[in-house]
Symmetry: C2
Subunit: 450 residues, 2 copies
């Protein structure tokens, strides 16, 4: 009975026309609202539209990417780049998303929840087992890009001071683990040995990066003021970061089970989820307070919470913490990746003057992290995946570059706008290339194993 008669088509066309006309009239009515009555003072209102745009964009991008055989996260990044660069096509209606502090906060919570989830899939003892590999991988992944970045700077910016070259080396040491964590999780590889080595190395990298950043900034500031560097303060920064991780492991293993045994006595719906989230937020906060990235704390929180900790919760009989977290992560995590894309300014790539330095930095960043392959001690671990997983620089590289932009040596900015654009280029390329490369390499390794 689904045969369409000409009359039915006429009726449907009329109904569609009517719908379109009503929609158009409604749009006019909505936009012609006096400011005081439009809830203009309620900051949640613009966020609601932004969230709808970002979430729909994320799913469309993820879908197109997965149809093309690519990881969903690549689609989310590209969707973000498309939304963020609509201005180049003359549409500026969504420019506000770039500066939206509330979207930014939800995106930060998203990446924290993601690393917490990934941490839950491993335990402290499993991480310690891959510890030696992770340590060597991290050191190789810091030293090689540092040297290569320094050389690239010395070669292409010969007129700049040696401090500029050193700083470019420092910028390349960072690892942004969000992209890798997401690809690993989407491919169900979060608890593989590759994942543990990459994530362990990324945590150590964050400590090393913090120390390098402190040392390099300190040297430059001291040199500019004709003072000598205060090694004590750098030692203190190192001690705090290492101390935080050591304490988190030692104390956390002793305290977390007691804390959660106590929380399990609170019998209200959602106590399992809320206890887990609060623990994660608290460790992220403490990590940030010692100068580490909040996601390092979130990952540590996930490592510390092992299934046995939750046994006393009534709710955990039917449902795991992971299954409670999943919808929150489905909601918040794509916001992080779309926003990462939105902040990419494609017009920086169009400047031919930066292309030389940009390509050299990108090459140094890529090759530099491939050295990590050599640090893997375990047998049966896919070394190429480890190297590829360490490549993305993401927002961490930009944070380094931003600090460089505030440093001045002999009246010259350490990171000039054109150097900054080259760093942005390097960040974009390393971030976008990683998901497909890592997926390819993990699948290849899996096929070889079976």
């Amino acid at each position: 009975m689904k045969r369409t008669t000409p009359g039915a088509v006429g009726v449907r066309t009329k109904r569609r026309f009517l719908l379109a006309a009503i929609l158009a009239a409604a749009t006019v009515a909505v936009t012609a609202v006096p400011a005081w009555a439009s809830g203009a003072d309620d900051p949640v209102v613009p966020l609601l539209l932004g969230l709808a745009v970002v979430l729909v964009g994320a799913k469309m991008g993820g879908w197109l990417a997965s149809r093309a055989g690519q990881p969903a996260v690549l689609g989310e990044l590209v969707a973000g780049i498309a939304i963020g660069n609509l201005g180049l096509a003359g549409f500026v209606g969504l420019e506000g998303l770039k500066q939206d502090a509330f979207l930014q906060i939800l995106s930060s919570l998203g990446v924290i929840v993601l690393l917490f989830e990934v941490g839950l899939e491993s335990s402290v003892s499993q991480m310690l087992r891959v510890g030696p590999s992770a340590l060597i991988v991290a050191c190789l992944g810091v030293v090689t890009p540092f040297v290569l970045g320094w050389c690239a700077g010395a070669w292409l910016l010969p007129e700049s001071s040696v401090y500029v070259h050193v700083f470019l080396g420092a910028v390349l040491t960072a690892t942004s683990v969000g992209i890798t964590a997401r690809v690993l999780r989407d491919l169900n590889e979060s608890s593989s040995d590759e994942a543990k080595i990459i994530l362990g190395a990324a945590v150590i990298d964050d400590v090393l990066g913090l120390v390098i950043l402190a040392a390099v900034s300190g040297i430059i500031t001291a040199a500019d003021q004709g003072r000598t560097l205060s090694w004590g303060s750098i030692g203190w920064i190192t001690a705090k970061a290492v101390g935080f991780l050591a304490l988190a492991i030692v104390l956390g293993r002793a305290v977390a089970p007691r804390l959660f045994r106590w929380a399990a006595r609170v019998k209200v719906p959602g106590v399992l989820l809320v206890s887990g989230l609060s623990f994660c937020f608290l460790l992220s906060y403490l990590a940030a307070k010692v100068g580490l990235a909040p996601i390092v704390g979130a990952f540590a929180a996930g490592l510390l919470l092992e299934p046995a900790v939750f046994e006393t919760f009534e709710e955990s009989r039917d449902r795991s913490l992971e299954s409670f977290l999943q919808p929150i992560s489905l909601f918040l995590v794509p916001i992080f990746f779309v926003l990462t894309g939105i902040h990419v300014d494609l017009s920086t790539l169009a400047d031919p003057r930066i292309l030389g330095l940009a390509s050299a930095l990108t090459f140094a960043a890529w090759i530099g992290k491939q050295a990590c392959m050599l640090g893997v001690l375990q047998r049966g671990v896919d070394r190429m995946s480890v190297g590829l997983g360490m490549v993305p620089r993401g927002e961490v590289g930009l944070i380094f570059a931003n600090i460089g932009a505030t440093l001045v040596i002999a009246g010259e900015r350490v990171i000039t706008p054109s150097t900054y654009a080259a760093v942005v280029f390097m960040v974009i390329v390393t971030t976008l290339v990683t998901p497909p490369a890592l997926q390819w390499s993990l699948r290849r390794a899996r096929a070889k194993r079976n």
Copy 2:
């Protein structure tokens, strides 16, 4: 083997002492961080601590309340009041939570998700069935408090102008449906006839409140400037609000199924959740744009989405949209209620000069909404629960009072600080009394029915 020997106690005490000492040292180390290294420029960091405090407070409060046989939401409100008034006990470390814009945004998202969830449990046709009752309930719940508030003002503030008395009446008309929606959901009564009448009336109330606020503010501004009121603009405001609801119902029923049939083709994890949330955020945004509360749009979005809409989604075979939403609501909804409590300033209650007006307003607010009982046309509906469910004024009453504080008539502020304090008192009492009263009345009705 769990017998504790004296030696074991000594070891445990020593270990506890060691733990405490390490914790203390860690606290000192964390607080002695240079500002640049403490992530002070990442706005997510203070939010992380705030979230942990608010979430833990919510669960503790909810637990204590449920142990005392009270609804969990009362415990969350009281926990918020406790956190927000620690300053009275000399502890000011958490004062920042009151001004935290990011917590506020998460709380706004929380109440939007709550009303969306509650809306999902009913449908448009079910709401239209109780339409006549809801309309009469809403009108009675607006007219009676308005008249009583006016009288209370005229009686206790005889020296003020008639406009002040009218405005006090207007402040009492608002209904804040968040508290009621939460109690109904916690008691599994969201799809009862009482719930439908209360929620339908609350939506109509929001339209009426918008019109009254526009009219009263318009009259006062015009009188102060010696002009006459522009009825046209008030007519336009009314037309837009009513038009939005009518369009949402008519268009939404036609458009939503198509939209979701199309979204179901996007086969990526989380597309069901993200489509539902985006639809909810979009309607909340549009509601705010026509001057209604965002939660009215969220509730309408929930009403429009009926199970049939989701049948084409692959994910819906295993899991409903409601089950995806539940963890998000467990995370965000308590933030709304704790923050509502945090914004209560207990010191306003200590001023004996306001107690007369405050008690009269509270009495008028309470009695005024009890008139709603008379508007229920259906048989078998518990009228007392309907009356009690309409009582809380929540943040809506405060928004009205804030607008009054900006209005001036003949050089006198319409809402003076002491009048404002009386309104705050009324809001606190109506908000805190509702959860236990409504729980009692719904349980009594349920017992009578069985």
